[in-house]
Symmetry: C2
Subunit: 155 residues, 2 copies
């Protein structure tokens, strides 16, 4: 349902949310999210355009998350790549349907609004911080790295 690109964007945002501060090189993000580096570079540019990450080019460059994880919803990330949009007018532009959607487009609109509600209700920190479950992206090595980051920031 969500595109591969969107799923990659969610992974990248999770990684940058773990890392919190400092610019992270695209290569490091690619390695930990298992996203091909060239593909990821384009995803990160889209995330930067949507003001979800802040990037700097060149030597020592990279990306960091633009806001704290509790303030970014899954919908923010999804909408920066392939927006989920309600249907507010007949996609065929039929004048007879002005102001009233047909049952096909009404059902598609309802489905879109349901998904908007679901993803708008989940922040990045909701999926990163759930107790008693495996964490996104985390193999054993990554778990250790995250604990170090969390210890450093005192959270």
């Amino acid at each position: 349902m969500l595109s591969q690109t969107t799923e990659y964007a969610l992974r990248a945002m999770c990684y940058l949310a773990y890392m919190k501060e400092g610019l992270i090189a695209t290569g490091e993000i690619a390695e930990n999210t298992k996203v091909p580096s060239n593909y990821l570079a384009k995803v990160l540019q889209q995330l930067a355009k949507a003001d979800l990450v802040i990037g700097r080019r060149g030597v020592g460059g990279g990306y960091r998350i633009a806001r704290p994880a509790p303030e970014i919803t899954l919908l923010d990330v999804i909408n920066s790549i392939d927006p989920i949009s309600p249907i507010t007018a007949c996609p065929l532009g039929l004048v007879e349907h002005k102001g009233v959607l047909c049952p096909l487009h009404r059902k598609l609109d309802e489905a879109a609004r349901t998904m908007i509600g679901v993803f708008d209700g989940i922040s990045l920190s909701d999926v990163l911080g759930e107790l008693g479950s495996v964490r996104p992206l985390c193999n054993a090595e990554m778990s250790k790295k995250i604990h170090l980051t969390l210890d450093k920031s005192g959270s």
Copy 2:
């Protein structure tokens, strides 16, 4: 949320469901669904591959619906173009996540399953036959044509 191609496929299926019998030329379907003809030709090939329509090439060729509209769900049509799939294993292939999804992928899985449930519960005839509302694809001229088809088939 659904791709443009999927939305076009749903329109094409609605048109063929109205027409019920006889092969309909791609040009006629394109005109009534307001989908570019070349684009539609590819969509129809995908629908044929999924056994939702039956086509014949050449002079006098075209497409007809493969089964009655009550037997085709919106999910059947969606899945013939861009399938909505539950997430049954870690997309990163992490061994630590074997048998248990992380909260990110669990949320995405739940959302996918919600949409599968919604679209599997709606047949083409559900969206075509709703009383007291505008019908999919129908401007005034198309409404007349459909009434003729319905009258002819006695429904």
